[in-house]
Symmetry: C2
Subunit: 489 residues, 2 copies
Amino acid sequence: MADDKKLTTRKADFSAWYNEVVLRAELADYSPVRGCMVIRPDGYGIWERMQRTLDDMFKETGHRNAYFPLFIPQSFLNKEAEHVEGFAPETAVVTHGGGKLLEEPLVVRPTSETIIYAMFAKWVQSYRDLPLLINQWANVVRWEMRTRLFLRTLEFLWQEGHTAHATHDEAEEEARKMLGVYRDFMEGYMAMPVITGQKSNSERFAGALRTYSCEAMMQDNKALQAGTSHNLGQNFSKAFELKFQTESGDEAFAWNTSWGVSTRLVGGLVMTHGDDKGLRVPPLLAPTEIVIVPIWRTDEDKARVLEAAHRLKASLGAWERREPNRLRVHLDARDNMKPGAKYYEWELRGVPLRLELGPRDVDSNQCVLVRRDTGTKETVSLDTVGEDAEVLLEKMQDEMLTAARDRREANSIRGEISWERFKEVMEGDGAFVYAGWCGGEECEQQIKEETKATIRVLPDEEFRSSEPMKHCLKCGKTSTVEALWAKAY
Amino acid sequence: MADDKKLTTRKADFSAWYNEVVLRAELADYSPVRGCMVIRPDGYGIWERMQRTLDDMFKETGHRNAYFPLFIPQSFLNKEAEHVEGFAPETAVVTHGGGKLLEEPLVVRPTSETIIYAMFAKWVQSYRDLPLLINQWANVVRWEMRTRLFLRTLEFLWQEGHTAHATHDEAEEEARKMLGVYRDFMEGYMAMPVITGQKSNSERFAGALRTYSCEAMMQDNKALQAGTSHNLGQNFSKAFELKFQTESGDEAFAWNTSWGVSTRLVGGLVMTHGDDKGLRVPPLLAPTEIVIVPIWRTDEDKARVLEAAHRLKASLGAWERREPNRLRVHLDARDNMKPGAKYYEWELRGVPLRLELGPRDVDSNQCVLVRRDTGTKETVSLDTVGEDAEVLLEKMQDEMLTAARDRREANSIRGEISWERFKEVMEGDGAFVYAGWCGGEECEQQIKEETKATIRVLPDEEFRSSEPMKHCLKCGKTSTVEALWAKAY
């Protein structure tokens, strides 16, 4: 049940606002296990719609799901040098099983490259077995010290794609393709625009040749790394003897990719679209798209309004859309709450459309549709409410993306920028800053230490500035590449 | 790739046959982690269809999905005395996280009653918050010493439903209802008939008031416990202070149920329907319902047969059925294998219908449909093959259930049976034996020790013998209840 106290505003304290929205919209709750959260039905409903959509997209691009063990022998993690260095410090370790000390400790998977490529090595013999395109939906554990609901938790849910290819170029194409799938999903369904590009070497995935990322801007102007895709080269195939016979009869190591998104996306959705009234869910991912709130004063009115409301729910719920989906409608028939309190609660929970239906509406065969994103109201005929609602929902979906993109661009800085100005921006409201970089890790490190800003990506061409950057933001020497700088989650 | 060696027959060695089918049909593979398996895409595809179907059934009965932590503090497990006694000996324990020894060890969930009811206690205040109907899809770990692919693995995937109710009777109704959902699924989709009933006290879930079960007979006449549903009474609500304010203003403890099925069902499907050629998948759960095998000798024939086969795949794949499903069709266009080798492989993998298409078939606008279950062939016109295939698939689905039920009944023994005869049966081919029981745990224990047979359930009325049993199978005293005895997985 939603609590009646007003939310902290985003402006007053963005971080407190975020936690309050997640808790009071009942997306998630703290658990008695440090750093682990409980995903409540309203939050899980959003994740389920994300999963279903992504899963369809993965299958359309030829991937199949499988499931690999939760536990990874410590010795497996050790086989790829960079990988173990990156992940070993944050693992949870099972030392006892069935009451006995284990001979070899088992790591709870922080990611599954090692166990998956060990299996691939068993399954792949010839070029005919390639490409092997696998995805897994699973929980993973990383021993984080500072956790935030959805954004950084000890355990989280995710998908991890793992593929094997005959050549470097095919692996590169796959890593790029899946980055594109992520972007299509984030923009098309989450209405969350992203900047894509390659990570600098210091931000590469431990064990990868190249890491690509989708970076979204939250309403506090910080970046959220929303999804990554890695060209793993032959690092893991060499560590796990993942070899195949080529068409010409030679033996070669396979080329791998891996890519993942997690329940962190739910946090990204909240921080992209939420407002001071609470959550706003993009219609395509909303478990409930329309909530009907019936209004009455007398018992007589109650009976006929509720009767009309039930009929409306049934007809909207059967409404045929282009896709094999119906409108997802909830009727809030609770009789221990006033309509105003219901409005407040459903706004907090972020349902895209509210349908108000009172006795006079029933008399005149109409109702009022209220958009959650803009608050605008529209009186429509009950004869056309299905079409009207569908049009509004599609419009909202588009306009939420546009609004988020406009906000991001309004808070982006392009063109030459002085080091002093850059520091001011990062100490102040923050921004996405596109600036020149000499390519030196020293400059990158110094900028991070002094401002907490990091290179989010070396942006893909379409996101780069029209004029090439001339100077490195920090050292002033010749810029070799344009980098997107921001503080990040 | 399927291996060409013949399968061990079921008669020669049922257990070896089972392992060979699972491995060679590529449902699962052994992993490098003792007791943990890898579920391969063909096995996971069956599990995904099971999940989707069950999930829809759970939602239709008012349940919502959520997600609770993988880790459970040791102290939580200790709060319900029977529960900890039952589960503590088989837990995996995390003692180290982030490189440090933990203050309190964390148990990897063997089941989630404790952590879930702790959260329910936080969420439930009043009778208005009840019933609370939650389901979770998750992995769980039980430290088993003797493992079998799908049937008993250290880690497995399952769903666990957890509910809270205001009264005993509502909880009882829920536990019964979900047992019915399981039965509908097992019979309606898996074509695996089950006997339902209550478990004897010695076989009750650790911490439950009453446990109900669905028991299926495998082809070696052993029982598989396929799904259980528990009325937990107030045991957990008392341990976790799950209280609510009643309508009259009093305070009361809630009543709970839990119920689960797991990836074990995939093993049950194999052992119910497989034959000496391999797997047979009931059409409703088959990731691929029809495999098209094109036949050619000359290059000219190859071109036109493949062209026709592609057209056929497209038209069948677009075939509209009652449900929003299309026919799931695969075209096996590999040119490095003879048709006979393809038949062999698809029979091993259990695809319900094979569609053979050769040059003369194309000339006469026809093809041959071959049923995997019976091997019967039918020549049908390409103009009607969609309808014909659909009719055949529905028929197969029904006939596979009937065949399994007939087999079970042919291997069931009802009516008074002597102890000597019972021992002979259990030492021989085994059976489902319906016999009288005095209700004494001593007789139950002795029977188990001497024959390895256990009480699978005290069968529900519809499965009981027409005449009440007079004597206890073991002691000969008056029977108080009819029990179903069998050896079990």
